[in-house]
Symmetry: C2
Subunit: 509 residues, 2 copies
Amino acid sequence: MAHPMTAPPYKQLEQEFRRAHAFRGVISLLRWDAAVMMPRGSSEVRGEQLAALETELHQLLTQPKITRLIDRAQANTQTLDEWQIANVREMRRLRDLAIATPASLVSRLAVATARAEAAWLKARAENSFAVFAPHLEEVLMLVRDKAVLLGQALSLSPYDALVSEFNPGVNSQDIDAAFKQLSRSLPGLIRDAIAQQETRPVLPISGKFPAAKQRALAVETMKALGFPFDIGRLDESEHPFCEGVPGDIRVTTRFVPGDVFYGLFAAIHETGHALYELGLPTPWLGQPVGRDRGMALHESQSLLLEMLIGRSRAFTQWLQPQLARHLGVSGPEWAADNIYAHLTRVRRSLIRVEADEVTYPMHVLLRYELEKRLVAGTLAVKDLPEAWNASVEQRLGAHPRNDIEGCLQDIHWAWGAFGYFPSYALGAMIASQLGEALREEVPDFEEQVARGEFGGIIGWLRGKVHVHGSRLSVQELMQEATGKPLSAGALLRHLEARYLEGALSSAAA
Amino acid sequence: MAHPMTAPPYKQLEQEFRRAHAFRGVISLLRWDAAVMMPRGSSEVRGEQLAALETELHQLLTQPKITRLIDRAQANTQTLDEWQIANVREMRRLRDLAIATPASLVSRLAVATARAEAAWLKARAENSFAVFAPHLEEVLMLVRDKAVLLGQALSLSPYDALVSEFNPGVNSQDIDAAFKQLSRSLPGLIRDAIAQQETRPVLPISGKFPAAKQRALAVETMKALGFPFDIGRLDESEHPFCEGVPGDIRVTTRFVPGDVFYGLFAAIHETGHALYELGLPTPWLGQPVGRDRGMALHESQSLLLEMLIGRSRAFTQWLQPQLARHLGVSGPEWAADNIYAHLTRVRRSLIRVEADEVTYPMHVLLRYELEKRLVAGTLAVKDLPEAWNASVEQRLGAHPRNDIEGCLQDIHWAWGAFGYFPSYALGAMIASQLGEALREEVPDFEEQVARGEFGGIIGWLRGKVHVHGSRLSVQELMQEATGKPLSAGALLRHLEARYLEGALSSAAA
């Protein structure tokens, strides 16, 4: 064993952060277990275990020794290479975030969000926003405290500080610019796409398919995408997710007997997350610079597989015979063209997680605007339902019949995750922009997809995105990978090409 | 939140040990996951996670603060009640064990035992003790260092120090006395039982039963025994075990298609371990005094269910219709009497884990003698196979054909678990002695078992054993529960009554 007190500051830091990485991996596994395996009655025990680990992690990052070592390492960067310098930068970021949120605030937030989650479930069961409101008030108050503290530490506005926790280097000015572009173009696009689709009826797809058959189909699809089952698992949980660490990655989905596409596309989505984790730079595993570059980039990797590839004509050509083989289906409704029409149907839906890719950004935009106002204090919690419904009306031309279809549909705010929602739309923008560059550099992209060959595409993503870990900012990475700054342009071009394809002459969909 | 620096020493200690408890629970869950769920290729990641948690736990126990607080708490016991005093005593024991084994030795042992386990698997695959020998040498050398250090800290001989890690308060003098008694009586008992059974042939029981049916039978049996599936699980693993903590307890078994009793009785055995954990004193959960009182007592709880109850005539009366219902079996070989004869067959077997309860202690005795000599250095590793085979010949009158059937059959020594084996025979002694007291205090014991009512029995065990946690020593507990000091007498009486039943007039079997 090395003697940590005599090792250079940088080496000591690596050792401390390797411990932090181990704890993070354990926390992730405990979350997976809680959702997939844990007996119903064991949540209190699990809560104590998670709290002990989170506290340990917080203590590790906030010990004075870490600050001293970072200061010394940053004063002596001439001995460090580019990656090591980026690694220390990321260490400082994590340390700053931890220092800015005192343990007492973290633990009060943990209590308040646990209560808010229970109240949210109850409010949904009783269709009563009033049940949820006081708990959301409490969470919001603590989140505001946190936002102010984080903002002071990071020299950011309170809301931007919250955003930066999920997406370092992204601020609301960038988001505003991109969302303005979406906001201008999407309403027309939605209207035209729906009008056009009305002229081409889709044959209804129905049937009940047992979970075992759906699972076999999902496993085969994940294998084709390159998911390594020797260091990963697919299980079922209420809400699909991806947990674990590179080396032990755990994807979940949910198989709905009457909707074979739900479980399959959730598995594809989560496989995108998993492949990002697995593609992170191996020599830097366990170090901050070896981690993912935030939630927007993470979401881009899942959306690229689920939406850009998974809902392409080429993919349905490959998928059609797999469906026939695994589920024994046949007939005109299971023809590739009809599957494609089914998977790209645009609707003015009320529920974000069921929305198609054209209306989806609108769901994100309205949440972004509302949560900025909630954090700023210019919208009171009691006025949220009314503001929500007005916004849905304006953005989507749809009317929630109740708050379950309205402002009670997402759990994020109950969890205190303000500043998270923009990641979803930013992820779609990044996915499309990467997709454009990918098409240019892999010209037979669609032929590969139609043949079920995804190695070239995943390899491209690995080299352009995954392997950078946290070395580059999202903006730097996009510039390097696509030659352009991040914008909403590619997403709009993609949506127009796919959803107004009849209207365009030769766009690839 | 309390302010730990101003709380009394005892309260501060409780807080520190509650954290230790959370870490122990997490370690246990990670072990369960590694054996049941983890992808094959993820063992390196898991190793790093476990090492990080073990190191954390070691650091927690060895920090100077803990010693200071224990000293202060023990200097002021007038403010503490009996349980709290016992709790501090157990804290000191854990602290002494941790201090005596420096982190460097712990980590060298971790490396050496990991290598030895791999070498043990290879040696078994190649039937070559020579492959294992150098690794066992290395482990043994480190274990000797540990034994000396522990012995100095605890004022015990090196071997007794190893025993005390698994069974605090038990020393080789006690073990020698009990094992001498077994050693004197068992050879005759084995001979007579086999001779007697030869006159009563057993109808062979065969058939292939799918895991799903065997699982349903095991679950029903565990439910009857009181296993709470709302805070526990049953899964499958290569080697059956029980992990987890009270509040989230995880039992495993293995279903062998051609041997329905293997998986069922392994599940019953592990349920005994689980019920002990679940019966530990609730107000002391998370504190050292709330933990089990060592491996011998733990094993007694599993053997009491698996052997004393599970292989009784009364139990087979209850079991017979369950087998018929779950497996659809019928015919004379599935009659209760024949099942009983099958479950109580005595054989001069070579493999410990397959041995019946009459020959089983002999397997333990020979390992105990050999490991004492290995630790003392009076038996060289290279001479182990010869010494083993001679001992098996003498103790059991059987001849291993190779080392796989001989000294390569158990993994314990590869793991560095010297001083563990006595727990198995002590557990059988404790189980029988508790069984005698139970029979006296629950006179319709057998009628209850025959009806599948186990609540009274488990309730008795809970009140007499489980609920004491680590407050009493094993000897004190046995005196309180049975009115007698622990000895081999009850085990011998039980074996005579059950296995020489024809020769005795009115013994309960």
